[in-house]
């Protein structure tokens, strides 16, 4: 017998544990992708339902209703209105939270109006007793015209019952729970007469949405005489909402009893402390400090291992593969390129571990509440806090985390300023430059000047993000209305499984988002560095050997000298030299120029490139050696040190401000759907970096 496949859509309000139900149903059988053309995440998984039955489950983005106010939400409506969509569900599983049943049922009644077979999942059933809630399930099933599964995704109970209901979806009633068209009978009668073949509620949704879907139908309707003013439509939507709540309240009056004495809970007490005007901030900043401390402490070990592992792999392959262009490509282009991506995984994973614990527990919403007023002053939203913190790991998942900011203007500003925060790729650059030009001594007894400089650079990152937001807020003229609605979910103990899945997803977003580009540019830069026009590049070996003449020289040293000479005359060397006039006033020579050019793959390439230029020899990226070599580097004309306090500081500031990350530009383009904004980041940030570095060097030299 052929295997029967049931198409299931998981739908529900945010914070109902919908994703936990999804994880329980599918285990790790899930794929995350994007909806075509837009960046909304599309999660799909499979579930075994029986001998010959399986299900494909789509976890639709959380939505409060079928009235879309964001891109995420319009995906849900688009799918549910289009019976021809290949993902159109055989059965809709609507997930609700037992503590928020009233509000969650609003969406359920709307889905019922679309006449799609729907199962009502009442989640977090394990909390019922503690909260003094009891439900009359048979009564609710009868009134809501559905089947109910009482589930605790936390404890894993009720999942089998849910699977059974899914298998028997054909027996589910499809009639609506209430007659929504009674809010304006005249209007809906006319509508019904004009489009007799269409589902009435579907027509109504198409009329009221701002989003573009089912375009054909929409045009058809707009041509007819059914257009109402925006205010009128919204009034009707309000009426509709009231009507639905009336129905829900009546149902719940009999179907649900709540012992209010028991409902008094932890929330109020925790809120009092966590949103306190003094303690709230103290707690938040302590948590932040703790997070950063532990990220640095914990990720240094795996990062060192990865670093060593990839250098070993590189030298191993170069020894064991036949010499030639292909081997060079692998050992000098591809392996270091992949290594440059993998090295950041520990930091990114740890940061998102913390962030997802804070989000899962419900604490992050309190931070949003605490910070909104302050952030609003700079044209940002309380919801910009998470992206800005995430930006200290990597701007790519950070920019993707701006999606829940409802206000487009605030979201755009957040996207534009996030790259200013000190991401992990800046760290290796900072580390080596600080060690080079900042004295290693104590001030005030216990502050290490080098450590202090690093901290100042971090604060500079946040400060420049905030200040540029303020400027953008003044400059940008958009006519978007500001609104802000943040749900304050109940406090919960984070589920390990959910946290783990979030961490894996965010890390994947970095690896695939940034990884591809970093790898590609690494290969391009390898090519530009290992090929050159003209005789000097081709005959480098000859020239150097002639130069040395008969003096005895270590063959390794000779090879390094040849490599450096080749790099100088390669394409990238020529690029470095040709920008020298522009960067000289900043205190850099053409060698640093090369490093800056190659930093466009990812900033940390700076260190590796300098290692090659200063002919330390490939493979040995030993920091101490590079530092020694950089220290000794002098200007051939003036005899002064290249890396002095002035040029070092100028370079630090350049890396702090300049937009040197192709992957970030790519993700900005994707999220804003326009080239205008990434180009603005590129030129705005880089011009600012140039200016600051110029002033710094000229004042200090």
């Amino acid at each position: 017998m052929a295997v029967q496949t049931i198409k299931i859509s998981l739908i529900g309000n945010p914070n109902t544990g919908k994703t936990s139900v999804f994880n329980q149903l599918t285990g790790l059988n899930q794929q995350v992708g994007n909806y075509p053309g837009i960046t909304v995440e599309r999660k799909q998984g499979t579930v075994r339902l029986g001998e010959n039955t399986k299900g494909t489950v789509i976890d639709l983005p959380g939505t409060y209703s079928l009235n879309a106010s964001s891109m995420d939400e319009s995906v849900v409506i688009e799918l549910l209105l289009n019976r021809n969509d290949k993902d159109f569900p055989d059965v809709a599983v609507v997930v609700t939270d037992v503590e928020n049943l009233k509000r969650n049922l609003l969406l359920f009644t709307q889905i019922k109006d679309l006449e799609i077979p729907a199962i009502l999942v009442i989640n977090m059933a394990d909390r019922m007793q503690r909260k003094g809630i009891s439900l009359n399930i048979p009564y609710l099933e009868e009134q809501l015209k559905t089947k109910i599964a009482l589930v605790s995704s936390r404890k894993g109970t009720g999942i089998n019952e849910l699977k059974e209901l899914i298998v028997n979806y054909k027996y589910l009633p499809t009639e609506p729970c209430l007659n929504a068209s009674s809010i304006d009978p005249d209007y809906f009668d006319k509508l019904r007469q004009a489009f007799p073949n269409q589902l009435l509620y579907k027509l109504w949704l198409v009329i009221t949405q701002d989003v573009n879907f089912g375009q054909l139908e929409r045009n058809e309707i707009e041509k007819s005489s059914f257009t109402k003013s925006k205010t009128e439509l919204k009034r009707l939507q309000q009426k509709e909402t009231i009507k639905r709540y009336q129905f829900i309240n009546n149902v719940l009056k009999q179907g649900q009893t709540v012992d209010t004495a028991m409902a008094k809970d932890l929330r109020a007490r925790l809120d009092r402390v966590l949103t306190h005007k003094v303690f709230g901030y103290v707690i938040f900043f302590s948590i932040l400090l703790l997070i950063f401390q532990s990220i640095f402490a914990w990720s240094s070990v795996p990062m060192d291992l990865i670093d060593e592992g990839f250098s070993w792999l590189s030298s191993y392959t170069s020894k064991n593969m036949p010499p030639g262009k292909l081997t060079e490509l692998v050992t000098e282009g591809i392996i270091p390129g992949i290594g440059g991506v993998v090295i950041f995984i520990p930091q990114i994973a740890f940061l998102f571990l913390f962030i997802s614990i804070l989000e899962e527990s419900g604490y992050m919403s309190r931070v949003v509440f605490l910070m909104d007023r302050i952030m609003k002053r700079f044209g940002l939203s309380g919801k910009s806090v998470v992206p800005l913190i995430s930006g200290t790991a990597c701007a790519i998942p950070a920019i993707m985390a701006t999606r829940n900011i409802e206000n487009w203007r605030e979201r755009l500003i957040t996207i534009l300023v996030t790259p200013f925060t000190t991401c992990s790729a800046r760290l290796p650059v900072y580390a080596i430059l600080i060690a080079l030009v900042i004295p290693n001594r104590m001030v005030l007894g216990f502050f290490n000047v080098q450590g202090l400089t690093l901290m100042l650079l971090y604060m500079l990152g946040f400060a420049s993000a905030i200040i540029s937001a303020m400027i953008l807020n003044k400059v940008l003229k958009t006519r978007y209305k500001s609104f802000f609605v943040a749900e304050m979910p109940n406090y919960k103990l984070p589920l390990a499984k959910n946290v783990a899945i979030t961490v894996i997803e965010k890390t994947k977003a970095f690896v695939y988002g940034a990884g591809k580009i970093i790898l590609a540019i690494s290969i391009v830069i390898w090519f530009l560095g290992s090929h050159g026009p003209g005789e000097e590049f081709k005959n480098a070996e000859q020239i150097i050997t002639n130069e040395i003449g008969n003096t005895q020289i270590d063959p390794d040293k000779l090879n390094d000298k040849i490599a450096a000479y080749q790099l100088e005359h390669s394409y990238i060397g020529i690029m470095g030299k040709s920008i020298e006039p522009a960067i000289k006033p900043l205190g850099y020579d053409w060698k640093i120029g090369i490093a800056i050019v190659s930093s466009f793959a990812a900033r940390e390439v700076f260190v590796g490139t300098l290692a090659t230029i200063y002919n330390i020899g490939s493979g040995s990226e030993d920091e101490a050696t590079i530092k020694e070599r950089m220290k000794a580097e002098t200007d051939p004309e003036t005899g002064k040190k290249i890396f002095n306090f002035a040029s070092g500081l100028s370079l630090l500031l350049f890396y702090a401000f300049a937009m040197q990350c192709m992957s970030t530009l790519a993700v900005t383009k994707k999220e804003t759907n326009s080239w205008k904004w990434p180009l603005m980041q590129l030129f705005g940030m880089s011009a600012f970096a140039y200016l600051v570095s110029l002033i710094t060097y000229q004042l200090l030299k």
């Binding site: 509000r103 909402t241 302050i374």
Partner: protein, 77 residues
């Protein structure tokens, strides 16, 4: 003088009377912020904005500019 939700002190309860429909996000209506419903101010953020309310058992934070558009009848002093 008309009272608005923005004028409520922490811990005060009120009934929603009316609001300016053009300036209230639909999402808020859907969460149960509708005429006739009970609303309680649970917390007020430092600097007085945003406010954290319980309306219709929905716990949600909104900005003062939105709260100004919601007329209420105060229940508790």
């Amino acid at each position: 003088m008309k009272n608005t939700l923005a004028g409520l002190k922490k811990g005060q309860k009120a009934i929603i009377v009316d609001f300016n429909i053009d300036l209230i996000p639909l999402k808020l209506l859907e969460m149960g912020c509708l005429p006739g419903n009970l609303v309680e101010v649970l917390q007020i953020a430092p600097f007085g904005d945003p406010i954290y309310i319980n309306v219709n058992d929905s716990h949600v934070a909104i900005r003062l500019e939105t709260a100004f558009e919601i007329d209420v009848e105060i229940l508790t002093p």
